[in-house]
Assembly symmetry: C2
Homo-oligomer: 519 residues x 2
């Protein structure tokens, strides 16, 4: 059923580079070499010249066909379950998210206004100089390298948000599969390839490489035809890719989404009203999916009070009884345990663990309790422990709470539980958190990332390497585009998006005013 | 008249770091130290917390006041003339460009839709999960370091496009003056400071540091409070700043605009119709401002023909008689002469120079003639020679012309002279140049960069370090902003831009549709 081969420009390609097997693997997979990277990028470069001129309707049809092929890949969820231990229901939901994203980008591309068309018409009689006719729109940036994430084998992997947004922008994609789910990756890649064939896209528009080796990842980032990189994973790996891209003769953007501790701040009014409910919601968010989300809430901050004590007691009790769960692959569990030892080694912390025992090597949820003073003196308490762990930070005053908030590094999200009056009283806190995070949540939990135009899944470093971008939602397409201006072009030589009659019916900024009108 | 001091958070600050004098200097200037950088950035960080909350109307008033103060600085143009040798009329025009830019950004900020507000309303009854209310807009990125350019002492320096767009976005600015015009920089900085005082901005919103030292530039880029960098200058210096930013613990974006050879391609129909006129226009563009523009046309490409010969003869004759001109500072002339020696050293090139003699150390325009074959084998012929120099490349066929176009690195601009029929016949050429440049021009010349919403002054590396950005025109504001999403926020805690009644009257993307309506 699985070829175990690298799939380059639509076809399996043999490798003499050795093989690897994933933990739950049902096959062995051939290691890609630098030669495969070169083949894939040369094909991507050739494909780009055609693919970027493919009309919006065809590009949208391609994305929709990818969604259909994924839905038709009958064994996909079984293989994903075997490789990741994620429950079937979760995987079914993730598949729906994946196909939903593909269809959302199809809709975006078909509508077309994302290209940010701007037209300033000529003023031949202007003095001292005449004004030329200038028109500007976004065009695709070129071949994109995408790195699959371990924790979302579908929605952030081979045909996930990075791939969908890059293909939507008009960029060919070369994916490096995450080696924890190579079979899932191959099946998804075959769905993309089948879709490309069915709707007549150039074969180089998509390739999949399989590798466990750092040097192959670096070769992919440093290939001269690679023009941008999408990545979701650890800070260490993301920074290594960023550094490799910065060392290129021609530097390229790296969109690495590297996780976060996603602080949750509890304000007095909310605690007085619903300390128990917040504790229950937080425990559910911390343990959801064995804590394997980049939006997992890893730090909880509040001012000591009876209500805060009540909250912590309830959270403590819930965590002690929370079920254990199998992590995506064994090394993640090792890393989780090492993280908890790191937290426990700090004087002034106490950690409780769930007493649940799971089958085999399971992660038991954990709650670490500390004070603001200790937290501020020990940076490691603010570092992500990937898994079902959270750290409660007890502050002595609102001022100390603000100091803790200010001490945080960049985050994907920051959450506040507060009444309307709390938010007024703590406007300064909101301002601090705006500077720290890409998304602020009131009276909710950070897990659950809606896919929509207003989503911002990104944030200041080290949450990502590019706080100006999002990896979820329609705005993600802008990562893979750059503007081109056309000065004094005859109508016949302009792209349709910029022609006077506005044949695509786009929103355009014409002489400074937004309009869908023809000129 | 001039203090010669670093101006930090509104006040002159002494330095024990030594002094320097510029070539045409009328005073000595104190060298900033790492301590001054720290003072300026600490003040900027403090100011940011206030400045980013300053309302749009006040921010616009600040920018307009800066323009007025610059217009009121009576000795500014005299000092600029003494320091740069640029003619008074050119400097008057540049001042008008500078104040025009400030007012354009004031208008942009007052209108406000640049923040790209997006609202997706809650759907509490959606299954399987309810949809939360999410709203997203751009916020300023933080303190910005701006490096003044030598070739535009006003429009790309202390209160130039980088500063105007950063202040407009809500970011404090620390400018490092170009040491070729420190007096002009001080006078402009005082205009900004007076404006900030007059309209009640926090003093740390703007600082000026003066330095001739690389380590001070690096300290400015690497200061922990610096969140973005704007630069216009050489590839060597721009790359050094980019590399310094990439090495930071927290990497930051560097918008370095580093110039370009701005290829001009001549197609047969246009040559047949107007070879002489193109030659005259090109000579004027090459020699304009002693060739000291980043859009100076440094390479001209065409297929050999009688008409192309006629064009070259006319260009040759015009260049031979073109006047010499004083460059901005002596080292630039040395570098220009070294560049011409580099071109002349390639076997298969011939170079002619203007016979004009100027007063003192003047640059004489130059024309280098070569073949596509030689050009393709000698990369140095495609490297920028800053000054009034251009290289004519004779191709044997349209295919060879395409090969030459494909061989080019990233460019700010690419120009085509062609009839409508030429453009149809050479659609592939347009496609090649789209991938190389930020702005494509038909039947014009690249010098002259319009300041408007549709301008794209940027391009693939090495033209810039970030092809997704422009340093001219209103879109330049996006360099200094990042998105923040607000989930489930009560109306009273939302920024006005995202509140239901749309009090700012912005264009917003609401539930996927553009509208100015209130919700």
């Amino acid at each position: 059923m699985l070829t175990g081969k690298n799939l380059i420009a639509g076809a399996p390609v043999d490798s003499a580079g050795g093989r690897f097997a994933a933990g739950g693997a049902i096959a062995e997979f051939e290691e890609a070499t630098a030669g495969h990277i070169d083949l894939a990028l040369e094909a991507a470069e050739r494909a780009w010249n055609d693919y970027r001129h493919v009309g919006a309707a065809q590009r949208a049809a391609f994305l929709e066909r990818v969604a259909e092929q994924i839905e038709g890949a009958g064994d996909l969820l079984d293989v994903a379950h075997a490789e990741t231990s994620l429950p079937p229901q979760r995987l079914a939901g993730e598949r729906a998210r994946t196909t939903g994203q593909l269809r959302l980008f199809a809709t975006l591309v078909r509508e077309g206004s994302w290209v940010d068309a701007r037209i300033d018409r000529a003023q031949p009689d202007r003095t001292p100089q005449p004004k030329p006719d200038i028109r500007r729109m976004l065009m695709p940036i070129g071949p994109v390298a995408v790195f699959g994430a371990s924790n979302f084998p579908l929605a952030f992997s081979v045909a996930g948000g990075d791939t969908a947004s890059a293909l939507a922008a008009g960029c060919p994609v070369v994916v490096k599969a995450h080696p924890a789910h190579p079979g899932t990756s191959e099946l998804t890649a075959r769905a993309v390839i089948d879709a490309a064939t069915a709707v007549g896209m150039p074969p180089g528009v998509f390739s999949l490489v399989q590798s466990t080796r750092n040097e192959v990842a670096i070769a992919l980032v440093q290939h001269r035809h690679t023009k941008a990189v999408g990545f979701t994973g650890s800070l260490r790996a993301g920074r290594a890719l960023f550094d490799a891209a910065a060392r290129r003769p021609e530097p390229i953007p790296v969109y690495a989404e590297m996780g976060s501790v996603n602080p949750v701040v509890l304000l007095p009014g909310a605690l007085a009203e619903r300390a128990d409910a917040i504790a229950d919601g937080l425990a559910a968010s911390v343990t959801l999916g064995v804590g394997q989300f980049c939006t997992n809430p890893g730090v909880v901050i509040g001012v000591a009070s009876d209500a805060f004590d009540r909250f912590v007691r309830r959270l403590d009790a819930t965590i002690r009884e929370a079920p254990a769960g199998t992590m995506l692959y064994p090394a993640l569990l090792d890393s989780y345990e090492a993280g908890l030892r790191r937290l426990g080694a700090v004087a002034g912390t106490t950690t409780v663990r769930s007493s649940a025992a799971g089958e085999g090597p399971c992660a038991r949820p954990a709650l670490t309790d500390t004070t603001a003073d200790t937290f501020l003196r020990h940076r490691e308490l603010a570092e992500e422990v990937f898994g079902p762990s959270t750290v409660v930070v007890r502050c002595g005053s609102s001022d100390e709470l603000h100091t803790v908030a200010r001490s945080l590094e960049g985050q994907l999200t920051a959450t506040i539980h507060g009444t309307a009056a709390d938010l007024v009283d703590h406007a300064r806190l909101v301002a601090i958190l705006e500077e720290k995070a890409g998304r602020l949540i009131v009276n909710g939990f950070p897990t659950g990332v809606e896919v929509c135009p207003s989503m911002q899944h990104g944030g200041p470093y080290p949450a990502t390497t590019d706080s100006r971008s999002t990896s979820v939602g329609t705005a993600a397409i802008h990562r893979f585009a750059r503007p081109v201006a056309y000065q004094n072009f005859p109508q016949s030589a302009l792209p349709p998006e910029l022609q006077d009659p506005n044949p695509r019916g786009l929103w355009r900024l014409v002489d400074g005013a937004m309009t869908k009108d023809a000129l």
